[in-house]
């Protein structure tokens, strides 16, 4: 009797899991193979290495030292890393400040942080274009103070401002959620044992908050590397790797788009594995 009930249970289990398993294979796993498939075929669906080779060899001018797409990849990575570091620098103390507040203040501050997140990011980014453009609000304000004008729009600075603005909450929230669970007694113990403020931060708070930092870094770095809207609106003619994919998509060059996407995917996997590896090493140490 008991055995019978168990086997019926497992049948229900399988039925309950079946739709999702099927969905996940069809719409998560298989599409990724389509990126590889398109990356390694031409428009007639014949095998070719041309698309992939193109990413590593294409130059607009023959005398350029770096191939074009390698340069764009480098630029995307550079801007994304800088933005992520700025987000960490700005967000970490802020997350700490929220975590130290009373429960009521905590929930108010978290709600306030989330409001911009819930606004469409296209509109948020567009607002920065209005602020930063040459005859925009920033230069208007500077003129009132008898300063400026400064040229920001179209520079790397503008793109970094956009990235930091759009993704700062994604850095604050995971760090906060780890810090909120941190045991106050540990901090007190460290102080009692003779740690100064910086020592407590370096030896207790930072290592404990590391999981939050890692997920915050992931949540800022990945959308920053792959963005195309921020660079379109704030970067002027500057292109990031997301722009290249988007441009090939709008020109119906699906094979070219897939090749860049394929390499981006592998690159990000390597970066994330390295990040995770360092985090594991640290937590062991």
């Amino acid at each position: 009797m008991k055995k019978n009930a168990n086997s019926r249970g497992s049948l229900i289990q399988r039925l309950v899991l079946a739709p999702y398993s099927l969905w996940a294979v069809l719409f998560i796993v298989v599409p990724l193979f389509f990126i590889a498939f398109y990356a390694f075929t031409d428009s007639q669906m014949h095998f070719t290495l041309h698309n992939i080779r193109n990413v590593f060899t294409y130059r607009i001018n023959q005398d350029e030292t770096l191939p074009y797409y390698v340069m764009v990849f480098g630029r995307s990575l550079k801007l994304a890393v800088i933005s992520t570091l700025i987000c960490l620098l700005l967000g970490y103390p802020f997350a700490y400040r929220i975590a130290r507040a009373t429960p009521r203040t905590q929930s108010i501050l978290i709600t306030i942080i989330m409001i911009p997140m819930w606004m469409n990011f296209l509109i948020r980014t567009y607002a920065w274009m209005v602020i930063l453009q040459d005859k925009g609000i920033l230069n208007g304000g500077l003129a009132l103070l008898g300063l400026g004008p400064i040229h920001v729009i179209g520079t790397e600075t503008a793109v970094i401002i956009g990235m930091v603005y759009d993704y700062l909450p994604y850095m604050i929230l995971p760090i906060y959620s780890v810090m909120a669970k941190m045991d106050n007694k540990l901090l007190e113990a460290a102080r009692d044992l003779g740690c100064n403020g910086f020592g407590v931060l370096r030896r207790v708070i930072w290592p404990l908050s590391l999981p939050g930092v890692i997920s915050g870094v992931n949540m800022v770095l990945i959308p920053s590397v792959s963005t195309f809207y921020i660079s379109q609106k704030l970067g002027g003619k500057m292109k990031l790797i997301g722009d290249e994919i988007e441009e090939k998509y709008t020109n119906f060059d699906f094979n070219g788009a897939a090749a860049i996407a394929f390499i981006m995917m592998i690159l990000l996997l390597v970066v994330m594995a390295l990040l995770q590896h360092r985090a594991n090493k640290r937590s062991v140490a």
């Binding site: 009930a5 249970g9 289990q13 309950v16 899991l17 999702y20 398993s21 969905w23 996940a24 294979v25 719409f27 998560i28 599409p31 990724l32 389509f34 990126i35 498939f37 398109y38 103390p93 400040r97 009521r104 929930s107 108010i108 709600t111 306030i112 409001i115 911009p116 819930w118 606004m119 469409n120 990011f121 296209l122 509109i123 948020r124 567009y126 607002a127 920065w128 209005v130 602020i131 453009q133 925009g136 603005y165 700062l168 909450p169 990945i222 959308p223 590397v225 792959s226 195309f228 809207y229 997301g242 998509y249 699906f254 788009a257 897939a258 996407a261 981006m264 995917m265 990000l268 994330m272």
Partner: protein, 278 residues
């Protein structure tokens, strides 16, 4: 130190909200400039409510968000229950990995990968255009599912295993025990998952952009094509409305939250007092 922390908090909040305040102010601009304020008017709000493109996009966005939230909540809850009871470690690890893919992958990869598959399948069946409401719905359900699963799974882990067993001992069938005992226990997780799925779908631009057909546009995709050209302040009035709707919803949910918190605390107090009296 205290003043430093206050100044710092104020600066961060200023950074986060200055652009939004500017949007709101300019939505009332008397001229069509997006940089110089001249006079006050409601003309952009009027124009907004007469723009049938925008209204249709709002309707599309809501329909899509509701549909993908409902589908992903049902399928995701069932999946979480299945994953939780899975005995095979390998199968569980494999499913966990696959579930994480849409959350780790950049949106542009998810979008492109789905688009390529839809185009391929469309070509296979000889369709000239394979992207439509249905492809978008598939895409949205796909990226919403992991969030639902990750909300429901922890609730299953927290649940007292003896509860459904007790129900079955008392004569419930598996299915009835699930409906009457487990679902109510999981409800907070299911609800949070559904709200997350709804808002993710509402807000998504990148994946929608790659999987949207010409006949079905959501608001973010429309905003994208609007901001390709020079923009009139209509988009600001739209942003302003969105902002206040979100503000109202968040405030409301905060109030409800603190109310339930209070209710729980009071119930606990009463219980304690009762126990002490006994």
């Amino acid at each position: 130190m205290k003043t430093l922390s206050k100044v710092y908090t104020a600066l961060i909040l200023l950074f986060l909200f200055a652009p939004i305040v500017i949007l709101i102010v300019f939505s009332f601009n008397g001229s069509n400039s997006t940089a110089v304020m001249s006079g006050f008017s409601f003309q952009w709000y009027e124009e907004l409510f007469h723009n049938s493109n925008i209204l249709e996009a709002v309707r599309n966005t809501l329909v899509l968000a509701v549909a993908s939230a409902v589908i992903s909540t049902i399928m995701g809850t069932a999946a979480a229950v299945g994953i939780f009871r899975l005995r095979s470690k390998y199968l569980r690890a494999a499913l966990d990995t696959v579930t994480n893919i849409p959350m780790i992958n950049p949106d542009i990869i998810t979008g492109i990968s789905l688009m390529l598959m839809f185009v391929f399948v469309g070509r296979f069946f000889g369709l000239s255009n394979s992207l439509s409401f249905w492809t978008m719905l598939i895409a949205h359900v796909t990226f919403c599912l992991p969030y639902v699963i990750l909300q429901v799974l922890p609730k299953l882990q927290q649940m007292d295993k003896s509860l459904p067993e007790a129900a079955m001992d008392l004569g419930c069938t598996h299915f009835r025990a699930f409906l009457k005992v487990e679902i109510p226990e999981l409800f907070p997780g299911i609800l949070t998952g559904m709200i997350m799925a709804f808002t993710m779908s509402l807000d998504d631009f990148v994946i929608s952009y790659f999987t949207a057909g010409p006949g079905f546009q959501t608001l973010p995709v429309l905003i994208y094509s609007m901001t390709k050209k020079t923009v009139k302040p209509t988009i600001y009035s739209l942003a302003t409305i969105i902002f206040f709707v979100i503000l109202a919803l968040l405030t409301l949910s905060n109030l409800v939250d603190s109310d339930t918190d209070k209710a729980i605390k009071e119930a606990r107090k009463k219980k304690k007092a009762k126990n002490q009296a006994n």
